[in-house]
Symmetry: C2
Subunit: 460 residues, 2 copies
Amino acid sequence: MSAGVTRTLASYVVEAKTDDLPPQVRKETARAFVNWAGCAIGGSHHETLDVAIAALGPFSGPATASVLGRGERLDPLHAALMNGISSHVFDFDDTHLRTVIHPAGPVASALLAFAEYRPVSGADFVNAFVLGVETECRIGNAVFPEHYDVGWHITGTTGVFGAAAAIGKLLGLDAQRLTWALGLAATQPVGLREMFGTMTKSFHPGRAAQNGFTAALLAERGYTSSEQGIEAKRGWANVLSVARNYDEITQGLGERYELLVNTYKPFACGIVIHPTIDGCIQLRNAEHLTADRIASVELRVHPLVLELTGKRAPQTGLEGKFSVYHAAAIALIEGAGGEPQFSDRAVTDPSVVALRERVSAEIDPSLAPDAAHLTIALTDGRVLELFVEHAIGSLARPMSDADLDAKFHGLADPILGRERAQQVLDLCWNVELLDSAALVAQAARQDAPTDAHAAMAANR
Amino acid sequence: MSAGVTRTLASYVVEAKTDDLPPQVRKETARAFVNWAGCAIGGSHHETLDVAIAALGPFSGPATASVLGRGERLDPLHAALMNGISSHVFDFDDTHLRTVIHPAGPVASALLAFAEYRPVSGADFVNAFVLGVETECRIGNAVFPEHYDVGWHITGTTGVFGAAAAIGKLLGLDAQRLTWALGLAATQPVGLREMFGTMTKSFHPGRAAQNGFTAALLAERGYTSSEQGIEAKRGWANVLSVARNYDEITQGLGERYELLVNTYKPFACGIVIHPTIDGCIQLRNAEHLTADRIASVELRVHPLVLELTGKRAPQTGLEGKFSVYHAAAIALIEGAGGEPQFSDRAVTDPSVVALRERVSAEIDPSLAPDAAHLTIALTDGRVLELFVEHAIGSLARPMSDADLDAKFHGLADPILGRERAQQVLDLCWNVELLDSAALVAQAARQDAPTDAHAAMAANR
């Protein structure tokens, strides 16, 4: 099927109701939203965001929308941009493994900003979130891997559709106008992979959120666009990919949900060293290990680990993300692999440096990418062994709700304080029940009054 | 040469001085600016702009910048978008024939909005305009035709670079930051050709202006990006084109100027029927023809004319643009081919309809695309013949300054009135001499006080 891909997708988005969502999809929405909010709050004071707000804040319109984790308010389009940037700045957000799309960023960033612009119930928020993710991931499925391989940052190029669909849904667009919104999204893709390693990478999900939001606003007023923005001869899929499969977009709408194959990173670094960190934390906690009791650590890992993260003596926090030796040492000492474990402080800590020098690694081509084998010799002569078959955070062993809670606190507590962070966390888990989804954004502002939660809770 | 394409271009933009510009380049800047301003004012009340302002105006920041031809002010980023849209909405703007880029739209729309945000002298404005046009057209030269053929609207995809370079120049960015600005431009291309025929087409130059402006603002504050946004393996040229020639970007900088091969459309329709309209106007004026004296009109035209504009009985103004018969008739009756000649009024006028039914056309494959042969039989038995070898507006026979004046008045007088239009026209021709380029924008607002010109003139 080729004709009507865009229109078919648009009609589905227009018709889909919150009540149609299976319980596990609603549950996964809350998990994805918790994970996204934690990342956005945690990244909110990164230099990248300071620069972006300094540059573009002076151009903000009426400041109705919160920048999560900060004191500033901006117009909703700029807030969508900023929250999208901060949610990706640690590379710690969610991953749709099949396409490597980070789905929540473009969609949630637009939706939450919108919710402070016009009233949005929690139930409508959840439905729009699901539809946005479905839109971007299905379009991604249709063109992956060719589209990604040529050099597009697929989160930004498909995310603009996700944001347009999600905001278009909340605006109540009819199928004609939602089709135009997707056309306006198609014509503004964001993101080249060349930008990886610079601040521009995290610009991509933010700008995708802003562009999709803009597309929906224009379409609402009758700004016309193509009826076949995705599938036309000179439409998005043909121009931006050498291969495409439109059935991925149009088949099984409302029957299968891409959100159910979304994953969350437990550790703030490349996914290849996650099995090692996972194993180190498991052994540390089971045996109450301390650095002085550890004589040596021997790792057997997938070949990509040493290719990508073989740095023996990292000097900065960022370099630490590319050192499996540092990752193992810090995980054994601190029992975590969050952003604080990849700071300059962590990487230069003498006790961490001393332990990482006792870590060795060899590759084992028989291991799967989400597996690792650990052998730890203790100073008392005992030897501990652990085989991690599937790292925590993989599809086979997803993060539990409690894991997501811990991740959220690790990110949000330093910004909001433990108590406020818990309030925001509660609101995120229960977003579907809120009269107004905007309460989440308001509670996640750094200068929100501490008694705000009581008022918000009363509103539930 | 491959390494350093982006940096080489950025360094040129940083170093280039107004004093280095050859006189003919300065002169052509004024001509391009006159043409752009006329188009932007003339298109300013098109429904497309009404819709865009209704949708996005509520999100405008501090309203420092004028929307040409209208009463609204918006923040400079939104004003750049709106002026870019209106300058393209009639498809009447300039054309860099080698790449079919419409160069002025993305660059001038950003620059003039900027000039109302921070002080910009006329001399600096001219220099930035030239550099912006040079940047976008050289990048276009490097990837044309492959990039256009695959389906990119090259005005939007290269225009974002042009706007980033022009605004970056006015911001005084150093080579490092201008390189980042070009990287931020590379990652936000705008425009699929699938959007042609909808309002989204004219969105492209506007959004390119806005995106390039944004890129420069971010880079100014230190928002990092790729150092090789254009030429990297996963940079703009490799991802968006199957072929590329970087010498087009880096060779002869400051020695040849793409602005010198820019062209301006005399008639508000597809270029293929320009020779016919040109010939009809020439014969009408030379012979003082009136419709009642014309028995028949026989045209011999390039084959593309009937393929693209062979509509015998157009019913609307837009359809009239696709009818060489209507174009000939209205040109003979009204002596023009502007937007009013392609209105519903013109197309349904009984005397026009009667004359167009006496127009016939046959193709002649021996004719060049900018040529046509006309034979007009008069009721008194005389037969007039004319061979148009190169239509007015072609590179071989460019529009004169007087032609550009007439075009400007045709577009601007209905919006601003003749007197005010003349004031704006004078300011455009003399932009290089102005203490503040913002005077042009202020004079071109619909509600500008009529005595504003005196104050402005005193400022020159």
